[in-house]
């Protein structure tokens, strides 16, 4: 996301209403998408559903290379392309759809902080498990990531991706961590989220925000994705309020789409349960 483009986008966005043919692009959901990308994609879908903005999900093998920032998912709305949850939230805000309008300054600061917590710990942990744990990388991540491509491109792309993630882990000081320590971090992060959520319906009162969408995307994906071991999911299952939180969001925002089994064409208004 380039800044100039973004400023331009927000100006342009304000002028036009949300079109019916908005499309969200993500990697192939059955054979290609990885845990972390799936989580980010689900977070964006949940956010758009909370905003009652219709979007059609389109799976493309080269979604990562279509995205302007190199990260999935991205949405194609009118003549604009925006990637990742943060910029998408900005974009919808410019169009007059916002979930965090009702928060005061302190709450908004806390919301942003918790969103960074999820990005900083949960997302990084997912990347670590996918690419730095040898068994997961060899059995799941590399074969899935490279499934649309034929040899030798599949090998080149998969190892390139793995190398890139490992270098990133080096730079942020995660390379020295053991798998057990990473699980411990996930536990710590979930603990914090669970504490913050407490017995509330959503993180801030009764109205869902982008934080709820982000947490839902990650926790739900961790719970429903099969990895080489279910240690990660087990860690998350320990937090009962996060589990019921995920179920609630799934029921409120995704149920209708699931029942009709169409590709999430349906959407409902933000629920005020």
């Amino acid at each position: 996301m380039s800044l100039a483009a973004e400023a331009f986008v927000s100006q342009m966005a304000a002028a036009e209403p949300w079109p019916e043919n908005a499309t969200l692009y993500q990697p192939l959901s059955d054979e290609q998408i990885l845990l972390s990308d799936n989580a980010s994609s689900l977070a964006v879908q949940a956010y758009l559903k909370m905003c009652a903005l219709p979007v059609r999900v389109s799976c493309r093998a080269n979604a990562e290379f279509m995205s302007p920032s190199g990260k999935v998912p991205f949405i194609h709305v009118g003549n604009q392309v925006v990637s990742e949850l943060g910029p998408i939230v900005q974009f919808t805000k410019a169009k007059g759809h916002s979930l965090s309008e009702g928060l005061d300054d302190v709450q908004r600061a806390e919301m942003k902080a918790y969103m960074e917590l999820v990005n900083n710990m949960l997302l990084t942990a997912e990347l670590y498990i996918q690419w730095c744990d040898d068994s997961t990388a060899g059995e799941i991540s590399r074969p899935r990531y490279s499934s649309p491509y034929s040899w030798p491109l599949s090998h080149i792309l998969a190892y390139q991706k793995q190398w890139e993630v490992r270098r990133k882990m080096n730079a942020i000081g995660w390379a020295g961590k053991s798998l057990e320590q990473v699980y411990e971090d996930v536990n710590e992060c979930c603990q914090a989220l669970s504490q913050r959520l407490g017995t509330q319906l959503y993180f801030f009162n009764k109205q869902p925000t982008e934080l709820d969408a982000l947490v839902f995307g990650h926790i739900f994906t961790i719970l429903t994705t099969r990895l080489t071991s279910d240690a990660l999911a087990e860690r998350v299952k320990g937090f009962s309020n996060l589990l019921s939180f995920c179920k609630r969001i799934e029921q409120t925002f995704f149920e209708e789409a699931d029942q009709s089994s169409a590709s999430s064409l349906h959407s409902k208004g933000p629920s005020l349960l």
Binding site: S2, V106, A109, N120, N170, C189, A192
Partner: protein, 323 residues
């Protein structure tokens, strides 16, 4: 009783107890928790037990280097500044530390290590002047490259080039982060009431360098100065917990430099000159010996008279030939 823990940290300047954000965080936390550390303020990271700064030398378990690990270690030793926090406040700490790392740290790295003017005029200059010879030629540019690499990887863009667009993007994030922190802090003395916690240490560590180090390109400092409560928060911690450093006058006039070329800004100018003269003399001598312009004869002491006779004979011969 165990030997006191030893902490290795970058030395301070500009009224800061240390010039490095991570070191500042650890120093502040240790003060907040009342941990009796023996602090070594050094300027040579190679003298630290881990090769990086900060580093905490612990008795049995070796040394730890990352600020979060040091804080965890201190916590295990019962030096816990977060003892009074509720579980929710503990969760908030984790969240805001993540916010700092994701939003403010990249901009801090950028402004100190990547922004060309700040790096040449202040950062490289400070490290080159303070790191002992000969590492001062090596380390500053190596640190620069490391930080650039780190920024690239954190942003996930391998082609990242320093430039206006990147700067704008990073600074926008940082400004937003500072505003959020300021809103969260409100009119409190510390983030969680009246006593400081680890979050205060992290915030202080990341903001104090921006506030105190006088940079030619000080956009972040301008914004920070406009947020009164955050500025007071930092100066307050400095006055309360690091009174000796604050009183110490700034050692150098870092803010304004004559508009000299790069050469004038080079530290240790005289020493470099002498060094280069020595090196060139060495090279010339070496060349002369190699090509035989000057030859060195090894003369054994016993044969000294003999050889001198030989030389005389040779001379005579030559004379004879001339005749």
């Amino acid at each position: 009783m165990a030997a006191p823990l030893e902490l290795y940290s970058w030395k301070g300047d500009w009224g800061l107890p240390s010039v490095d954000a991570d070191c500042l965080t650890v120093l502040a936390y240790a003060k907040f928790a009342g941990a009796p550390l023996k602090v070594h303020k050094i300027t040579n990271p190679w003298r630290s037990p881990t090769g990086t700064l900060p580093a905490l030398k612990t008795g049995e378990e070796g040394s730890v280097s990352q600020p979060s690990k040091i804080i965890i270690h201190l916590r295990k030793q019962k030096y816990n500044a977060d003892y009074d926090l509720s579980a929710k406040e503990g969760a908030d700490t984790l969240a805001f530390v993540s916010l700092l790392e994701e939003k403010l740290l990249p901009a801090l790295i950028y402004t100190l290590w990547v922004d060309a003017k700040n790096y040449v005029d202040v950062t490289r200059r400070w490290y080159a002047e303070n790191i002992p010879f000969p590492l001062n030629f090596l380390l500053p540019s190596r640190m620069h490259n490391q930080q650039m690499e780190r920024l690239r990887l954190v942003r996930g863009d391998p082609m990242l080039e320093p430039g206006e667009e990147l700067e704008k993007e990073l600074y926008r994030d940082a400004v937003e982060c500072m505003t959020l922190l300021s809103q969260r802090l409100g009119s409190h003395k510390f983030f969680f009431g009246d006593s400081p916690s680890s979050l205060d240490a992290y915030v202080f560590g990341h903001l104090a360098p921006l506030l105190k180090i006088k940079l030619p390109n000080g956009k972040l400092e301008q914004h920070l100065s406009s947020l009164d409560n955050l500025r007071h928060f930092c100066t307050n911690i400095l006055v309360l917990y690091f009174p000796t450093e604050v009183r110490e006058p700034p050692t150098r006039k870092m803010s304004v430099f004559p508009e000299g070329g790069d050469f004038d800004n080079e530290p240790h100018k005289r020493r470099n000159q002498i060094l280069s003269v020595l090196v060139s003399i060495g090279a010339m001598l070496g060349y002369a010996i190699m090509t035989g312009i000057v030859s060195i004869k090894h003369i054994r002491p016993q044969g000294a008279i003999e050889s001198s006779v030989v030389v005389e004979e040779e001379e005579e011969e030559e004379e004879g030939e001339e005749d």
